[in-house]
Amino acid sequence: MAGNSGPLSARAKLAVTAGKAAAAVSRAAGRGSGSVIGGKVALKLDPDLLARLATHLDVVLVSATNGKTTTTRLIAEALRASGPVVSNALGANMPAGITSALAGGSDARFGVIEVDEKYLAMVARDVSPKAIALLNLSRDQLDRAAETRMLAEKWREGLAGSKAVIIANADDPLIVWAASSSPNVVWVAAGQEWKDDAWSCPSCGGVMQRPGDDWFCGECGFRRPTPSWALSGDYVLDPHGSAWPIHLQLPGRANKANATSSAAVAATFGVPPQVALERMYQVQAVAGRYDVVTFMNRELRLLLAKNPAGWLETFSLIDGPPAPVLLSVNARGADGTDTSWLWDVDYTRLAGHPIFVIGDRKLDLAVRLEVAGLDFRVCESVDEAVQSAPPGRIEVIANYTAFQDLRRRVGN
């Protein structure tokens, strides 16, 4: 069915056109890319538009707490080896944004779609994906989001009858719980540093045992499945036992894990791991993340970390001391308005780094760092922090809206 694009109905065409017009108005008014408003208008005119747009595509859905935007990019890059791809590359990951992205790719063969965790089951029902990649689940924005295990439960119910191949992380018990109701799962040992949302068995509530990289519930026998793909150091191990080197411009263990899952997805579409991994090298920065910019004659590397699991992975990829570190935290709607999660992040990992603190909630961070026994300096602006920082590339770690603020200021 790929590439075999039957014509859209008159109604769907009208909806796409109206959506594009709304997006153009939104852009002209200086209100962002317009992809969400465009999608909203189009979906209102034709509620089945998302499903209709997807019938012409081989669709992959990507969902997770962390890494979904990057992984979507990596998969899109890999699948381009086989044909044109349409993707919501900028992270507009709810139905309106997805609709808008798909409407822009009428000649594509593949649709590579990042989906917000809450909408995964719904979007999976609408677009009949060929594959779904599930990377990890952990606590995030608990003042407005569903409980983490409840989310896994909803995925499990929603995916139970799915015909898609589920590419799932065997190292995250919540992901395994969500995926194991599906008949067709490819398990990937992608690792996960953060473990604190899966100490109790998602199946029976028993206390999880975690010797080494393994995990199992001593009470009901729910356990880590045997993976067919694995991340091993700097290599992807494929189901035949061949090791393929990972060359990425993106830093860190988490991105190697994302590359491993992406290679497994690519293989389900017939793209061999060697080809897929070579193509992934193209990916430099994703929506500004990992970008190195020059600001006030200093090099800054911009890193996004939105929740405890994300901060943990980020700490493991930054340059060692004495590299200066600039932290910025906001608590606006899109960030979650409760900053208590800062206390689930182990900031003692930053010992030895000169630390500079900015953002709407710099005082919460200041108390957090004081209690961690670290030296730090609170600054009023990124300019002041950069001026105060000792030599060396500055590692800038920020949560969602703080990251947007930074990008605007440093001209990225």
């Binding site: 109790s200 409760d338 208590s340 206390w343 108390v367 961690a372």
Partner: protein, 242 residues
Amino acid sequence: MSQNSLRVVWVYPDLLSTYGDQGNVLVLERRAHQRRLDVQRLDVRSDQQIPTSGDIYLIGGGEDRPQRLAAERLRRDGGLNRAVANGAIVFSVCAGYQILGHEFINDLGQREQGLGLLDVVSTRGEGERCVGDVLGDIDPQLGLPPLTGFENHQGVTHLGPSARPFARVRFGNGNGTGDGTEGAFNETVFGTYMHGPVMARNPHIADLLLKLALDVNALPPVDDRWYDALRNERIAAATQPA
């Protein structure tokens, strides 16, 4: 204090450490160290026994199913009740607070028995979830400055005659009963709905627990500059809701 070092027990982090409340343990430890007190921190998972020889027990908030599992295991264990009978101090937050009462509504919608360490009963609120910054005045008997915190709960907690409200709210919901009460306490057992974490926002609560455990009236002062700055900001924010 039962021995040379202060024993702080962090109860069931595998179930009840989802909302940053382990910050209370970190603040308590830090402020004890700053007073040159030796602290022994014990993290007790829900498949381990609760030691009865602790001086201060801290319990945090968790999601609905872990809350039920924690109540079942704490009831079966019995250690926390024995520790309180020995005079131990307990400070609990949100789901942990509800567990210390007589009963609460569990994730299955059923009444779940608590530990009966606080004379409170929790039900499930019919209205909107209580989420946001809170400002209140702590019971004058405890001699503490205003309470600031962040609440995030559906539960409503009703106080019986032998529990005193920990605070009265000026902004926010607290116990959710509409009478302005927030949290509850008796001689040595405390409960609150406040995250933030509450001791990062109110370090004097950590000091109060230390003083109770050491049986002293005062502690050497420490540098509260950042805590004070954060408190001022959050108190101002609570009075001007977005």
